[in-house]
Symmetry: none
Subunit: 193 residues, 4 copies
DNA sequence: TATGAATGAGCCTTCATTCAT
DNA sequence: CATGAATGAAGGCTCATTCAT
């Protein structure tokens, strides 16, 4: 009687990836839904119980989503940081302003769920966190004389907060040019050597 | 513990105030608890049902708590803004850095529950919101030549985010001097005319 | 502080009457509301607690409402029954068909709340109940040869049910002429001697 | 009493049936209980939450119970109506008087909960409703000359009400012979051609 | 007598998680 | 591995009733 039409047999990695993909779609559109495991597995086209095969709890999924997004976002930056030659870190920061706002706005409601969550910790030193990346950029900028002498970790925290605020404001309907412009003015006056 | 044998009959205003006070105590120490109405009324020494006499839902209480905190915090600033004589708005902002961080750290877990909540909206124009206040300060500063020409609303949003980040960091164990110092450096370079 | 604008001091009977009036208004329009004591006292313009001064419980109010309605409705019938001279009881029953349907339709939602309620018992012998009245009419009709020999109590029960059904149907939008006509046909063939 | 140590996993249809069965038992004996979901699931030997897996609300269960009872009761009638040959519809109605009273009395308190409920609507045309069935019987009877020319829908409504009243009276301790006899007299005189 | 703030038992419902199949 | 029926702890909220004023 209970004949599941197709018991899609995937490799664990594929299944896991599908769940994360589904979660990203759900979070982007609805934010954190009620009945989280059900909503995500329905979106992924699997059974409710499958959720717990791959993630002991919702928070574990959130961490996985966070890591995925950060990896995607930070790939070009990590590449840049891997290069040892001096670079124009001021320009890099300027570029990140737009890129970060675009990224955040594109995330829709996902952003609040994943990044404002107290669940996903962001230790300053973690190179996979947003502030971790900014911190490394600023450190390089300071070392290479492209930026004013500031405390890289603290500056990264402040900058990230400001970026965040701008992105949220734009996502909420604020004027993109105005926010990004002000942000550029802020970083310019603050971090120029 | 306290078993008041008799009903304490209070005026609605007093009871409401007691409930808000109790909620602030609870939020400060535990953050948002499970069984919210029960926890708050127990702290207030009243019956569970009394909660719903005064607040149709938890969110209504949160709004009341938010308003109370903002009113308390903003009282001196509103006074300053009421005065028409020119003032040293740079110094005011510098002072707010410390005052805001102190305030936020003193809020403990309350802060996240009330201010990160999507429940309590903070329209830019609202003079009772934190950004609304900052915006008015910055506007005055710009008008009176104490601050660089910036977009007051946007600048307030960015500044508030940075203040917030610093306060959160200090609350989480960060070095207060370092964060406030960096913040002062940021505002100094950014907003000095 | 708590100064009730006017503490209307009425004689207990007036107060009681006002509450019953208010209950009838409420029941007619909303049927049995949620928060019954509150709804009725609000309609009556008194305080919630006053309800319990006059009625130990909702059911007691229902009984009072029932008695009031029945007294009003049955007044002409009781008068007729008091007269000892023989009467055309067939015509009386025919007339009651329309009067009862009018009455019931006019009651709106009140009807279901008060008369379908298991709370208000209607002992067959009770001359204040609808079936009690019908029973006495039928008994007189049988005794005076105006009606076929039937069991008065049982016939009253069946007739009342049929009247009720017709009234409910008309209240629900059924065709009045059709229902009353069929009812007249029923009683005619059934009860004619 | 029964503590099933292990989860009883059934097909949805079986579980649903068990819940409806349990509900019928409960309603028959207690009428509509307080804590409805708990009472029914306890009777069914399942966990409270299981109720909501099968019925979004109590009213949905009531509808299911109603349908089940009507299907059971009406099965022989539907069969009769399916046959095209003329039948003695007077005798059928006479038979239904006893059968309906038996059925209703056997329902105990269930009857009021399910059939007096405003939740379960009974449109006149619905062949699964009691009046719908009676209506079809009367229509056939009229067409085949076994019954007087009456409006089938209206007559069905009136007849059903009378049947109901008799059944309720018998259930409440009334004399079965008296009520059924009077009912037979009523239908005889009313509907004989 | 009248008031309306206060009470708390109790019902409804959700949903994270388990586990028999 | 995958499934989805089953679970039950937990929280939200209502409202009949009480009682201090």
């Amino acid at each position: 009687m209970n004949r599941p039409r197709t018991r899609r047999r995937l490799s664990p990695d594929e299944r896991r990836t599908e769940l994360i993909d589904a979660a990203i779609r759900v979070l982007r559109e609805q934010g954190e839904p009620a009945n989280r495991a059900v909503t995500v597995t329905a979106e992924a086209g699997t059974a409710k119980g499958t959720f717990y095969v791959y993630f002991p709890s919702w928070e574990d999924l959130l961490v996985a989503v966070h890591d995925r997004l950060m990896d995607d976002y930070s790939a070009p930056l990590r590449e840049r940081l891997a290069a040892e030659a001096p670079q124009d870190w001021r320009a890099v920061l300027d570029g990140e302003i737009d890129r970060f706002v675009d990224f955040t706005v594109g995330c829709g409601k996902l952003h609040g769920a994943v990044f404002h969550s107290s669940v996903v910790p962001a230790p300053a030193g973690d190179e996979h966190s947003a502030t971790g990346l900014l911190s490394r950029i600023i450190r390089r900028g300071v070392e290479e004389g492209a930026l004013r002498q500031v405390d890289p970790d603290v500056a990264a925290g402040l900058l990230f907060a400001a970026l965040h605020a701008a992105a949220d404001a734009v996502a909420a309907g604020g004027d993109r040019t105005r926010w990004c412009g002000s942000l550029r003015e802020l970083t310019g006056n603050w971090l120029a050597p």
